[in-house]
Amino acid sequence: MMPAILVFAEAGGQEAIDKFANATSSGIALGAIYALLALGLVLIYKATQVLNFAHGALAALGAFFAAYLATVLNFPGRYATFLPLTMQWLLSALVAVLITALVGLVLERLAIRPMIGEPLFSVVMITIALDIVIRTITDDFIGNNPRPLGDPWGADVFNVGPAIIAKSEVATLIVTLICLIGIALFFRSRYGVAMRATAFDQEAAMAQGISAGRIFALAWAIGAGLAATAGIFSSLFPRSSIGVSNTTAFFAFRALPAIVIGGLDSITGAVVGGFIVGLAESYAGAYLVGDTWSFLGLGFAGVMPYIVMLVVLIVRPYGLFGTEEIRRV
């Protein structure tokens, strides 16, 4: 980073440094959310070979649960008033994540399990149907107006050197790191080893007494939980100043370039891809503006991830960390 900062420093002085630092910090925070979304998608893809199109809907559902628990029910905060407000809110968020994980479990049982052995394409279609159903129900829950999540950070910011960083961004990054460490530890556990085994060779895993169905359910539960986590943090300032709304569900699709860049079946790739996409979007938003770039039009930042994705696909069609000859979905 240093040389880059120096170059900018020469070109535009302090202002350029500020701009770069801010673009980088918000890019990392954005990347953290993409990484979370991508992680959930890749986990389900790895274990079941299905790209889950209902991921965004689950993210919105999780964010709604968090908003409802924190602002309407005040659960579990009302039973734990002795805790600081931040802890109370985090507990509400955790409960929301767990409820969404449960929803994932039920969805797998009802909609995905009966499809085992059917063509993968049919299963992917089912996830699209699930997306529509969950999204419609969630929109109805949310109502006409966006629901604020009642998080303790609001629009608070603080300065680190030249960068202005929102407190919620720091929270996002910390939670993402906790999730990543959690997933890494999970993969070393008994069920984690079983999931990797099932992902690699289902029949051989079954021959060891691993119940493939249970592993699928677990993958869906964890995937849905990660979706909810991402949904909650994508509904906070500065991603969204208004809370969870009926556009939250579509945010997840912006993580698609991340998993394609990283390689569909690589956990590391999902995380790296998430941060690449976040930074690319943030830098494009900061630098590809003004008269010189006016031909790109407004909102080009949202297109940038796809351009990165195209470049990666040209150089490495199976993604940066993906297995070569990956299956089509």
Binding site: R196, A197, F200, A205, A207, G209
Partner: protein
């Protein structure tokens, strides 16, 4: 211990693969199941261990019992929990995982920490070559080492009965000897063995009893001496014929006319 009675298995509702297979593995013995390609050996294994489902196969008649309990229709994990472990044909190790993680996957049904450690030690004793490679990716092991890992993985479940499907497939003669000795060692540790093989010589040299399968049923069974002494077995499985005798073209035609040899 394991009793298979009149088993009939149909794939995709149309392909009749096992037609009344019966066999019996007594406690503490090694039983060999021999047969040519397509005889139904692997299908018999799948029927015993409950993984027919994912191959669109169904047991339409007959039964499988283990220690007096009926196990056909149970799911694979329940069968492993009861004490039947299997080594699939073609090794099927988890190539992307380390040797240790492969073994841990094998120990999935084993929830007792002490017994996992004991099983792990047993595997390391049986296969000292794996000791130095515990952190290596299993895919980088040689074929022989992979087969040993596959057997070790199955042993991690602490089975009472171990079913091996062609453990010597594609291995050099020296390694075949080694695997054979290991099977005998495992059997000495109070594990019954059902050995599914094409290598009749190797299988019958260690078995207490042998079955020969053809087109979905047992056509001949008996103790190894009897099978090894049988003229047809000698000719078709061991590639032997009376010394000095010239084979005439007529014999070949005779074999072709018979299509099936033992029945």
């Amino acid at each position: 211990m394991l009793e298979v009675a009149n088993l009939e298995v149909v794939y995709n509702d149309v392909v009749l693969v096992l037609r009344g297979l019966s066999l019996n593995v007594p406690d503490g013995e090694i039983v060999a199941l021999l047969g040519a390609n397509g005889a139904g050996k692997t299908t018999a294994l799948r029927a015993i261990t409950g993984i027919l489902d994912i191959h669109e196969g169904d047991i339409t008649k007959g039964s499988v019992t283990f220690d007096g309990e009926q196990i056909d229709g149970k799911d694979p994990s329940a069968i492993v929990r009861m004490g039947i472990a299997q080594v699939l044909e073609g090794r099927r190790i988890f190539a992307e995982m380390t040797v240790d993680d492969n073994l841990r996957a094998g120990a999935f049904t084993n929830t007792n920490k002490a017994s996992i450690t004991a099983a792990h030690e047993r595997v390391m004793d049986l296969f000292p070559v794996l000791q130095g490679r515990r952190k290596d990716s299993a895919g980088y092991l040689s074929g022989g080492e992979q087969q040993m890992l596959a057997i070790g993985r199955a042993l991690m479940a602490d089975p009472k009965l171990l079913i091996l499907d062609e453990p010597t497939l594609g291995l050099a003669p020296m390694l075949v000897q080694q695997i054979r000795d290991i099977i005998v060692d495992i059997n000495r540790q109070d594990v019954s063995v059902l050995l599914i093989e094409q290598n009749a010589n190797m299988a019958l040299s260690i078995a207490n009893y042998g079955y020969i399968m053809e087109t979905g049923k047992v056509v001949m069974d008996g103790d190894p001496q009897k099978l090894l002494g049988d003229e047809d077995v000698k000719e078709f499985y061991l590639g032997l014929h009376s010394e000095g005798e010239r084979k005439s073209f007529r014999d070949v035609k005779h074999y072709k006319r018979r299509k099936r040899w033992l029945s």
